[in-house]
């Protein structure tokens, strides 16, 4: 763009800093309330508090993905180290899976973690531009650590020449991003905010490039597989852990399904109330005005959406219960039929795609049903739409 006065790139970012700061203050207050209201061991209660607070919380991915990953994929010994630090935010994490070149096709990720037996460390690198981690929430400004999904490379035993490695597939690694005292980026870490989005702008979705960043061997998730100090790869025969790892992702999906009902209900509440109060046109004898809601076309637009908002909420509860029942069976060591896990996976995946799509389109329908007022930020509908649309497109791969 040649003319600076019509360059809007700076305007897009205007005022995002103060909104982010306020969102962080709110996140901290929720953390304080978690302690003062004795919700530290009541995950559902704390989730309810966060849902009711209803703001774009830049720390969301810490509770949503980082901590559950540690609980599912790290050994008890590793958990004993990391979880207390996560609980009081000495460690605040994000989840770095998606890359510029690949998203849900995890097998094709390019980021590597190469084991160096001399120093007992993994060396993490994003070797190409397309290997750049892109989109992780909480990464751009907030997180101190990232759960980096990378291809593990161990020294090759079949061709033990220097620089020869065996690809052991993708694994999870905890990588420090920022100095815990100064919050400055650590050597080899290049990260930042990817910039303003359609909505959800308190969330610092980020990018990440790693240039030979070294982490201790203990930072690899070792519940399903580990690397010995001499570089041997050892897979652990723990089917329970593998199933629990899969269920963690299902839990996220069930909350997304319920959230679709919640977001659609908010939009319907605004649109239905408005339609009841707003007048348009006179009765036949001219003695009174019709409320917009009396028109069949308005009802036809809004009432099916209102009904669906209830359905989605209840469907989310049902998937959550099915998941909790399955999880209990797995933890007991009981035999869980493969069909039960498959049904849970298919149901939660299908409902996630369907419910979020309907909710996203439905919020826009509600906005239009409010006429000009729906275009006003103060109606609550434009920010709700902008914020919600990210849910429609995110996490389609798990």
């Amino acid at each position: 763009m040649g003319a600076t006065f019509i360059n809007t790139s700076a305007a897009l970012a205007h005022s995002s800093s103060s909104r982010y700061t306020k969102a962080l203050a709110r996140a901290r207050r929720l953390k304080e309330l978690q302690a003062s209201l004795d919700l530290e061991h009541d995950k559902e209660g704390f989730a309810m508090l966060r849902r009711l607070a209803a703001f774009d919380d830049p720390t969301t991915l810490h509770e949503l993905m980082f901590v559950p990953n540690i609980e599912a994929l790290f050994t008890l010994e590793q958990q004993a180290y990391w979880l207390p630090r996560c609980a009081d935010w000495r460690v605040l994490g994000c989840y770095a899976q998606t890359e510029l070149g690949h998203g849900s096709n995890v097998r094709a990720l390019e980021t590597t973690a190469t084991f160096d037996a001399k120093t007992d460390e993994f060396v993490l690198t994003t070797p190409t531009l397309t290997a750049t981690k892109f989109w992780p929430g909480t990464m751009g400004k907030t997180a101190t650590h990232a759960m980096v999904i990378a291809r593990l490379r161990t020294p090759s035993r079949s061709a033990p020449s220097p620089g020869s490695f065996t690809d052991q597939g993708v694994h999870n690694f905890i990588v420090p991003l920022r100095d815990r005292s100064t919050h400055a980026l650590l050597p080899g870490v290049i990260t930042g905010d990817i910039g303003p989005k359609l909505g959800f702008n308190n969330m610092d979705n980020g990018f990440l490039q790693l240039r030979d960043v070294r982490v201790p061997r203990a930072n690899m998730a070792a519940r399903l597989a580990h690397v010995t100090s001499n570089g041997d790869y050892v897979a652990t025969a723990d089917p329970t852990a593998a199933k629990l790892a899969g269920l963690t992702m299902t839990a996220v999906r069930s909350s997304i399904i319920q959230g679709a009902g919640s977001a659609l209900a908010q939009a319907c509440t605004v649109a239905v109330r408005y339609s009841v109060v707003r007048k348009q046109g006179y009765t036949e004898d001219g003695s009174d005005e019709h409320s917009v809601f009396e028109y069949p076309t308005q009802r036809q637009r809004l009432l099916p959406l209102l009904a669906k908002s209830y359905c989605f909420w209840v469907a989310g509860l049902a998937v959550g219960k099915l998941m909790a029942d399955t999880e209990a069976l797995v933890k007991e060591g009981a035999r869980v039929p493969g069909t039960m896990l498959a049904e849970l996976h298919a149901t939660s995946s299908g409902l996630k795609a369907y419910c979020t799509g309907v909710a996203g389109d439905g919020i826009e329908t509600c906005r239009r049903a409010c006429g000009g007022h729906g275009y006003l930020q103060a109606s609550g509908l434009p920010p709700l739409l902008g914020t919600y649309l990210q849910t429609v497109t995110k996490d389609t791969g798990f």
Partner: protein
């Protein structure tokens, strides 16, 4: 808060028990009570007042707060 007359009339026409529905959606009476308790705490906390969020960083917000403080002194 004053409720619009049309809205109040529409609410009296509900064909189901709103309280029972609220209990069911919350997942039972205990969770419903917890939800109301948490909502009351957030409602009382000025940090979670979001009415002015959309005007953040704008002169309007400054003027609004000036006006509020003047009105408070009257």
């Amino acid at each position: 808060m004053q409720v619009n007359t049309d809205l109040a009339i529409a609410r009296t026409r509900a064909h189901f028990d709103v309280e029972v529905m609220a209990l069911m959606l919350a997942g039972g009476s205990a969770k419903s009570m917890q939800r109301r308790r948490l909502l009351a705490i957030l409602d009382a906390d000025p940090l979670f007042e979001n009415r002015l969020d959309i005007l953040e960083e704008r002169v309007t917000r400054y003027l609004w707060e000036q006006l509020s403080s003047i009105l408070a002194q009257l």
